[in-house]
Symmetry: C2
Subunit: 399 residues, 2 copies
Amino acid sequence: MAGRSDFTRGNGHGPPAVPVDAAFTVEHLHRLRFTRHALDPSNPVLREVLGPAETSSGRVLCFADGGVIDAWPELADQVEQYIRSVPGFEPAGSLRRVPGGEAAKNDWRVFEQVTRAIHDEGVCRHSTVLVIGGGAVLDVVGFAAATAHRGVRLVRMPSTTLAQADAGIGVKNGVNAFGTKNFLGTFAVPRAVIIDEAFLATLDDRDWRCGLSEAVKVALLKDERFFETIETTAGRLRDRDRSAMRRVVRRSAELHLQHIVTCGDPFELSGARPLDFGHWSAHKLEQLTGFRMRHGEAVAIGVALDVVYSAMTGRLAGSDAARIVAVLQDLGFTLHDAALGDSALFDGLEEFREHLGGRLAITLLEGIGRPVEVHEMDHRRLADAVEQLGRMTQGSRTT
Amino acid sequence: MAGRSDFTRGNGHGPPAVPVDAAFTVEHLHRLRFTRHALDPSNPVLREVLGPAETSSGRVLCFADGGVIDAWPELADQVEQYIRSVPGFEPAGSLRRVPGGEAAKNDWRVFEQVTRAIHDEGVCRHSTVLVIGGGAVLDVVGFAAATAHRGVRLVRMPSTTLAQADAGIGVKNGVNAFGTKNFLGTFAVPRAVIIDEAFLATLDDRDWRCGLSEAVKVALLKDERFFETIETTAGRLRDRDRSAMRRVVRRSAELHLQHIVTCGDPFELSGARPLDFGHWSAHKLEQLTGFRMRHGEAVAIGVALDVVYSAMTGRLAGSDAARIVAVLQDLGFTLHDAALGDSALFDGLEEFREHLGGRLAITLLEGIGRPVEVHEMDHRRLADAVEQLGRMTQGSRTT
């Protein structure tokens, strides 16, 4: 705590005062665990992150995505039995269902129900909220857990490839408000994130695929060898090969977490947000299609568009751009959509800038694994990039 | 980022996985400024904490407590002129009125109005919300500012002695929900807190006094000399001597901030909360009296009760207890109230424990400036302490 004693002296506004600039740091610990069948009582992973009992109230309140409960009808019993098997712990009421998908974030009543459950079940700051689900459910339950009592312990078990590879790893939560995605939320570090690959078995093909575009994104930003792994296993990934998916989800999750921890700006106080590569248009495409397009699908198009733009503006080799677009297609993503022709698409740039605050900051590529930040995009060339992407993917339009 | 490679290997749940324990720190800077007439355009304090313009959107959205606007009708114009006088800055709409007092925290619509204003005025993460008011208004606007866009910059100008000496300094915000005080909120570090002594001139006598009990509290915990200062100037403080109040408010604010910065637990992750000395009963007294008793008044009684209890249990010299009770009375506080006889008072202990989570942690005194943490209170002796406090303050019952 440093005091500077000469600051407001002699300004004529009252007697000398000593302004205080109090700098302090807060330590955080983010635990990432990979496993299969986390709710089997013989699996130690969840037990380890809940404990030790002496530092906890022992109460665990569980929420699950309606989609997960429908796919795993035995879930409520499994959760209850698991928690009862941990010495010193007990469930705080039975498993609560949260509607899945973006609806959970658009309906304020879901946030209210989750916070009310935390209140009514006597969950305190030394109790744990366990949430199992896709990104939207993790977001709304996370926001409730971060604000009830100013923050109760949160253990996330993401259930989709997208949530396991990206959305469920981060230190954000939130709900939509006033028509703006994620308008209300906080930065909050979960106590732990447990990636249980068993949940992926019941995903439909679109949700199975959705996490792969975020994996491609983070590979392009951080790890050329990881991109090559995705490239060489694209066919297996599309065909639901579990061991190929396990490798990609884990590496993507690690890279996302590594970025948060090592970027020096985990709570995004600066204007830059490199992990949002391809996202300015992806967010807008979701909105323009009324969320018909899922986030992972929109990110595939958004990444492809900014890759083509990177090449058209001389930053990235054309052969690399073609290679990246081909990988996204090999993974099964459709890279053309009528919404790409909507002139409102480019409004996404300004909305992205507003959301970041301050100056526009967009990530492009100079090479695979070599991002570069730019502060403007040329609308004419962007329109050319949309056309070029259309030409590149024309062959696949009939598939 | 440390990886431990032996953790989940060989547990039979899928292939070997490497759990990641990612530790990271986040740096915070809390600026505390003391001045008079902060909104006079020649006063540099607010300008300094807003800037520099290059790192900001330049937009400043202002909220003020209805009570402050009523006492200072020229406030809206002053705020607007001040912001326009700062190069690169402009007001984001005109000053918005927020109802003062606990009502602002009990009515969810106030939070909604504040967040909607932040949305509608295009306030981004590089814009500033300026809030002028008492503790309740700072809390609800602070919660909105901390969650809109996951946190916009917040500059607080507390307008009461209580907010200037304590509530407006901290790193918390919140609203009441489900009948529980501060049930929803966050820990968030303001960009700056500006203590403008000019606002104190228009307070009624009760609000003038209310900050003094928190000053006594923090003096008893941290600074024997500061307690002696309050003791020797008690008559002047009661008689609204501005220079005596300035000294007390500043030292109290500094001590509160110093605690947050140096305690090692600014976001209260442990169960202890030493600054809440005397507060377990204070919170309950407010509730039992339907908030007829103001927070500072309840804290005076709560501190007196735990001081007497400290003496009755042999921790504190009886002469020190008598001295502290006398100072609180000299400051003008009434230390007896029918609610002290309500058997529900002691429920405040369990509610306090629930709110902290985990084990009960209560601060008592071993001496002036020498706190001690205990983990239980004897209800019979507490009842004796209530009676004893009644006897000690009997002489003042006719005043």
